[in-house]
């Protein structure tokens, strides 16, 4: 099954993250895992940090009316851009502006997160603009770690979380920490691009 990048138009949205190499790697990861995803019959899906909305739209184009699609972003422009992407691709995305999944009380069967993973000063994590798409704090993990610490509570028993990581995020340590919490961690896909070695991992309750 081939997954095409959904349509999007960010001309009116200079503050929203333009789908980039990381986004495309993520779409390739979903394509690679699509059979598993379909067979697991997810009911509740959520993308955190949806930006343009293309990742969750790609998932929705495959699973269609068999699942519901929540998505969140702290950037208000990203939420608007995502609803536009939903219209362009005729998929029903439910976007809410919030931090991570803080205000959603359900457990998700599938979570997607392409986080701000760049190593920066902690001080660069401020406001709700384009900098929040990149700024990941000292190890590029300030936002990612908050999600992982909470993953047990927001993932359903058979749920899977797909997460993009950068080599410098110290993936070995993440694996160890999550392993201790009883998570199974599996590499889905990796790619070296100029200046970055990117990975998409999936986390499930073992």
């Amino acid at each position: 099954m081939s997954l095409q990048t959904p349509l999007y138009n960010l001309n009116d949205f200079p503050d929203v993250y333009e789908p980039s190499e990381d986004t495309h790697l993520f779409i390739d990861a979903l394509e690679k895992d699509m059979k598993h995803i379909i067979n697991s019959k997810p009911t509740l899906a959520c993308e955190i940090g949806c930006g343009s909305g293309v990742l969750i739209a790609a998932l929705a184009k495959i699973l269609k009316s068999t699942c519901c699609y929540f998505c969140t972003d702290i950037n208000p422009k990203a939420c608007i851009a995502t609803t536009r992407t939903a219209k362009m691709n005729k998929v029903p995305l439910e976007c809410t502006r919030m931090d991570l999944t803080t205000n959603l009380k359900c457990k998700f069967d599938i979570i997607l997160f392409n986080p701000p993973y760049v190593l920066t000063e902690e001080l660069e994590i401020f406001g709700c603009g384009l900098n929040r798409a990149f700024a990941g704090g000292l190890r590029g993990r300030s936002v990612t770690d908050r999600l992982l610490n909470n993953l047990n509570d927001i993932l359903s028993d058979n749920g899977v979380c797909y997460l993009l990581l950068l080599k410098e995020n110290n993936i070995g340590e993440i694996g160890e920490k999550m392993g201790e919490k009883g998570f199974k961690i599996k590499l889905v896909i990796q790619r070296k691009i100029p200046g970055e070695h990117l990975f998409v991992y999936k986390f499930s309750k073992a």
């Binding site: 019959k41 009911t43 509740l44 269609k64 009316s65 068999t66 699942c67 519901c68 929540f70 702290i74 208000p76 939420c79 608007i80 609803t83 029903p92 439910e94 976007c95 809410t96 502006r97 919030m98 931090d99 803080t102 205000n103 959603l104 009380k105 359900c106 709700c128």
Partner: protein, 124 residues
């Protein structure tokens, strides 16, 4: 915002709030959209729904129609019921309005169908 989303949203993260659920809806613009009906999906979704909260939300928007107050037994095979559930969960949308925290009274605006639940740092 669909009523499905309303069914999942809480304001628990507000400082001093214990449950923050369900949020009150004050709607100024409600629309009914056409969404593909998938009975198998709706059957899987219903156990995850707080039904009384859905019923009351639909009622408060004037869209309860003939939605039952409780889910019937063997609803998986009750297509008529599943269609009503589908309509309430996925087709009724709040385009403009606000959500109100039942404990603190904090208001969360909904604009163009997008609720803004983000808090200021001093509220968490």
């Amino acid at each position: 915002m669909k009523l499905l989303t309303h069914n999942m949203l809480t304001s628990k993260c507000v400082k001093g709030v214990n449950v923050g659920y369900p949020l009150t809806i004050n709607a100024s613009d409600v629309r009914v959209a056409d969404v593909d009906f998938n009975p198998d999906f709706i059957s899987r979704l219903i156990p995850k729904i707080d039904w009384p909260v859905l019923y009351n939300a639909a009622e408060s928007l004037g869209h309860v129609e003939d939605l039952p107050k409780e889910t019937p037994v063997n609803y998986e095979n009750n297509e008529e019921f599943l269609k009503k559930a589908h309509r309430a969960l996925l087709e009724v949308e709040v385009v403009h309005g606000e959500l109100v925290c039942p404990e603190s009274g904090r208001k969360f605006p909904i604009n163009n169908g997008i609720p803004n639940m983000l808090l200021n740092e001093d509220e968490v």
